[in-house]
């Protein structure tokens, strides 16, 4: 077997690492515009879905620029024209699921009292359980829910197990997903932060 000196090994690995680093940087930089475009399109599609529009991702960015205007500089609130023709405010939500982050957008009516629609997404919730928060039937259950109770107090839309906390009226709650307690609680906590800021 050939003998390799320490110097040879050191130079060998240095050259290899350098070459790989340079090529990877080139690949990453070259593909960055496409990656960013995908992320942007996904965000636009999600906001539009919360507003009731069913739009293909490839057309989402164009449609978004026609239908929405930012309300804040940080990209967390937008004024959108909903599918039913009325105006709404889309608000970014962030929370914790069982395995990783969950997030989404909620579209409120302009007076900030009624949920017109939501769209959730998650990083790594369990398929068939927590991942159900992205299913149409769960997101649909938020439509038309009120953020304030009969006394005008802010309660947001709670995500609760059917049958619990009966003091919270049906218009302020949706059913949690059975078998996905932690993810449901994550959505619940996320919804508590839902207010239109006064900017």
């Amino acid at each position: 077997m050939k003998k390799f000196t320490n110097t040879y090994m050191f130079v060998y690995i240095t050259v290899l690492v350098t070459v790989i680093a340079v090529v990877l940087t080139l690949v990453s930089t070259g593909l960055k515009p496409r990656r960013d475009r995908n992320k942007q399109a996904e965000k636009c599609q999600q906001i539009l879905r919360a507003a009731g529009h069913d739009i293909d991702r490839s057309k989402a960015v164009d449609a978004f620029s026609n239908l929405a205007v930012p309300l804040t500089d940080d990209g967390t609130q937008y004024r959108v024209i909903c599918a039913d023709g009325t105006n709404g405010v889309a608000i970014r939500l962030d929370g914790k699921g069982l395995w990783g982050p969950i997030w989404g957008y909620a579209v409120l009516s302009e007076d900030g009292t009624t949920v017109k629609g939501v769209a959730f997404d998650h990083k790594s919730e369990t398929p068939g359980l927590g991942a159900k928060i992205t299913e149409e039937s769960f997101m649909k259950s938020f439509e038309g829910k009120k953020l304030y109770n009969k006394d005008g107090k802010y309660v947001s839309v709670r995500v609760l197990k059917p049958g619990t906390s009966s003091e919270i009226a049906a218009e302020n709650r949706v059913d949690a997903i059975s078998g996905a307690t932690i993810t449901s609680r994550g959505v619940d906590e996320m919804m508590q932060k839902l207010v239109i800021s006064n900017e």
Partner: protein, 199 residues
Amino acid sequence: MKKYLGPLSKDNPILVQTLGVCSALAVTAQLKPAVVMALSVTVVCACSNLIISLIRNTIPPRIRIIVQLLVVSFFVIVVDQVLQAMLYDVSKILSVFVGLIITNCIIMGRLEAFALSHKPLPSLMDGVMNGLGYGLVLVVVAFFRELLGSGTLWNYPVIPQSWYAAGYLNNGLMILPPMALILIGVIIWIKNGTIKRQL
């Protein structure tokens, strides 16, 4: 040619060597991500086998594992970046499992067992065949899991609506990882009953 076909049947990396099972459980709930994952592993396995074989005489044995890891990581990162840019939806489903190809024992195993001691062309073939052998099992498992778990194939519904009306239900257990393990077990069982391995 015949000697390269082993990984597809009697020397299958998943069924015989029981390597790469973790990712096989995680990405086989649907057909499309399984196919993309299979192709990704094939590309990484073939390319790193080729490169390691090309430079095999220059690699100091004492740092060969580091060199192998560098080459494998390089291809995995490239594949990951390309998926994020070109197949965004699938890359979201595969999430961390693309990155985890680096730790897939099939790839390191082939580098150690084959590429370090063989010429480039046979090494390339060996990599392709082992990747395909892995992919074959993934596709078979994903086929049954998507068909029985979601009633779709490649996201197209194949179970007629009339079945659901008659009371047919998708098997929710199929989309959870334990069922993938059971399916792989069944495939190993069938394989051991039909194809005898020559030792």
